[in-house]
Each structure stands twice: as C-alpha cells, then as structure tokens.
C-alpha cells in the first residue's frame, strides 16, 4: 500500500469530523465520515477501508460497540482501528485494547501525531 488509503472516521461532533477530514486529506488520505456508531458500522459494511478512526462517546452505538461489530463481523475484521478520545486514562486504553483497538489518539490531537499514528498502522508512507 503506497498511495492513498481510505479512512472511515466516526464521530458525532461535526467539528471533529471536519477537522479529521481536513487533516487527513492534506496528508493524502481519502476520508469518509459517519456521525454515530450505527451509521459507522453500516458505512464500514459498504466500503473498503484501510483504517477506522472512532470516537468513544457517541449516541446510538458507542466506540466499543463499533470495534466489537467490526472485529466480529465477516468483513475485513483485522482492519486497524484507532480510538479517538478526550480521556487519556489507562483504564480506558486497556478497555479499548481488550475490545480490539489497534491504537489510540487523545483529543485534541495535533496534525502530526494523527497522521503519524495512521501511517504507522496502515503502512502508508
């Protein structure tokens, strides 16, 4: 994988969705967004994604639900999933890890660390 990777970003905040889209587009990633867990999982089923970024606190289905749905789904279940959260507690990271998260990003993130972490898990240079 060397060229543009397709990222699914799930967050109920419009601001965060636009921020992530803008940051990743500038770094050459293609981004699709969803505004809650259920529509995120639906979108995942409809597209082919190289990585997923998900918020934890969301209506309908939270981020742990998203991870579980993808990891136990039939399709692309080993996709890298990054959890984006305002909470940096070790307990939360441990929970995310146990749910099957690949890594985590603490909000607010800076552009460099978001892109760096994504490149690390997708292998895109």
């Amino acid at each position: 994988m060397t060229m543009s990777a397709h990222i699914l970003a799930i967050d109920d905040s419009r601001t965060i969705r636009e921020l992530v889209t803008q940051t990743l587009n500038e770094a050459g990633f293609k981004v699709t967004t969803a505004d809650d867990g259920v529509s995120g999982v639906d979108a995942f089923g409809e597209g082919n994604y190289d990585a997923v970024i998900t918020d934890i606190n969301m209506p309908n289905m939270n981020g742990f639900g998203v991870i579980e749905a993808i990891r136990h789904g039939g399709k692309n279940k080993r996709v890298p999933i990054l959890v984006m959260t305002t909470e940096s507690s070790t307990v939360l990271k441990e929970r995310a890890r146990n749910a099957g998260a690949t890594g985590w990003i603490v909000k607010p993130f800076d552009d460099v660390s978001l892109v760096d972490v994504l490149r690390r898990v997708t292998g895109v240079r």
């Binding site: 994988m1 060397t2 109920d12 905040s13 419009r14 601001t15 965060i16 636009e18 921020l19 803008q22 918020d55 606190n57 969301m58 209506p59 990891r71 080993r78 996709v79 890298p80 999933i81 305002t86 909470e87 940096s88 507690s89 990271k93 890890r97 099957g100 998260a101 690949t102 890594g103 985590w104 990003i105 603490v106 909000k107 607010p108 993130f109 800076d110 460099v112 660390s113 760096d116 972490v117 690390r120 898990v121 997708t122 292998g123 240079r125």
Partner: protein, 309 residues
Amino acid sequence: MSVDGLRETFFAECEDLLDALAEGLSALEADASDDETVNAIFRAVHSIKGAAGAFGLSDLVDFTHRFETVLDLVRSGKLAVDEEVLHAVTRSGDCLANLIEAAHSESGDTPEAMAFLMNSLSDLIAVGGGDEDDGGSADFSFTAVTLEPLDLEPIETQNTFEIRFKPYRALFDNGHDPVHLIAALSDLGSLDVSCDVSGVPEINEFDPDESYLSWAMSLSGDVAEGEIRKVFAFVEGLCALSIAPATEVAAGNLEQTDTDEPSQPTGQSIAVGNREPKVESKATDANNEKPKVMSHSLSTRSLISARSS
C-alpha cells in the same frame, strides 16, 4: 477548509449542542429520573469539550470538564438530582453559553459566574466521590499518544540493538501488521531482518489465523532504545519482545512465554535499507534465484512462500 472555516463549524455546532443542552435541562427540571435526559445533557457538554480542545480554548475545556464530571456522577447514580444539583447544572448551562459566546467573539471576557460555578461543581464532585483531576485540560497532552519525548542521547553515536519479536495471535486480531512495525524500525537506521519460520506447521495443521513467525533484527544507527520502544508502543503485551544493545545479547533470550523454544532463525536473512523499506533477500539459494524485493505489503503468506520456494 481553512482554520477559520473550522472555527465557524465549531461555533455553529456549539449552537446546536447548546439547544440540545437547554432542551435536556428543562426536561431534567420536569423529570429528573430519566436516564436518557442526563445522557443527552452529558453528550452535549462532552462534545463541546472535545472540539474546544482542538482550538486551544482552555477556559471552555476546563469548565466543560468539571461540568461533565458532575453529569457523569449523576448518570452513574453517585449523585442524586436534588435542588442544589439542579440549580448548579442549570446555571452551568447558562455559563457555558456565555463562555462560548466569549470565545466566538474573542472578547477575552470570562463570565462573572464562572469562578463561583467552578467551585460549586467542585463541591458536587467531592460529594459524589468523583475525581475532577482525571481528564481535565492539564491531562490533554500528546504524550499519551505515541510521540513521547524521546530519551535524547546527545552524543551522536552508532548504536546497534538486537531486537527479537514474536507476535501473538492477539496482535493480528487487534489489527496490527508486523510488516508495518518492521518498516517503522527501518526508518530509524540500518536494519537487518531475519524471519524464523521454523514454527510454521505442516499444511494440514496450518491455521491461517494463528501466529507462527518470529523475527530477529539488528538495528544500527544513531538510535536510542526509547525510539525503538516507541515503535512497539501499541503492541506492548501483544507480542514477546526483547530489545538489547548488541554486545549484551545472547542467543535465544526472547522472553517467550508460550509455544516452542526460540530457535536459531532459519529463514532468509533480509536487509532493510535506511528510510527505504525495501526488503531484499540475501539468501543464497542453490537455484540462484534473484533476490526477492518485497514491498512493505509483504505479508506473512509471502514470507512463507519465499521460504518454501
């Protein structure tokens, strides 16, 4: 979209969230027993906090953090909605609207009631047995990601580290790929990689979801151990890993806790150039096949087939 455009998106979103908050607060006044009402209020405040952090609005982050901590205590039943709580959250809703307005107009004003409400919220957090220091703006550091400040070693030196890495099955289950980790190591210096395929069973016993391979690598360059550890930050606990300066390394010291004994690498030896994650075979095969050049889309499967060819 420009940063200004993003700010406008944020403030437009804040208006929607403040509407949702006001709606939730009046519902709470009418009926304090509905869990979903408290959830909706919490989410509105939480969303404002999450996005405010992106714009460095620290007053807003601090205030919403304390506000949401109280709401979280209500949500988890640790704090009952009595008159005092109701009064504090309603006034906090007003204060939040003022804070957002001040941030939008960049007036630099702090709402009069803020200091007082911060104290009231603190008191309620104490009553509910919560911890207000957990997750506030002071906690908004990037160090928790992966970009930890490096253990900078000022002297330019040429170090060599021996790295032994055996992924557990859970590493793959969590969406990691050893190839990306190896590629990231190759960014740090000159990397020699050899893959041990001796654990791969016969085809009739082969489980495609199982982890059979391990790697022995030698990394040379002006590199500190902290930088190497950083590469493996997300996979800690999902693999057996040993990193040691070359001189101290003894054969077979992988902290392996499961499966078979580590054996001498029998796979092909691969050199990975600095910055160029090109992987080429140094194996001198009898049939003199030309060196395989594998990109970092190199998969477990291709390593196995390279071995068996």
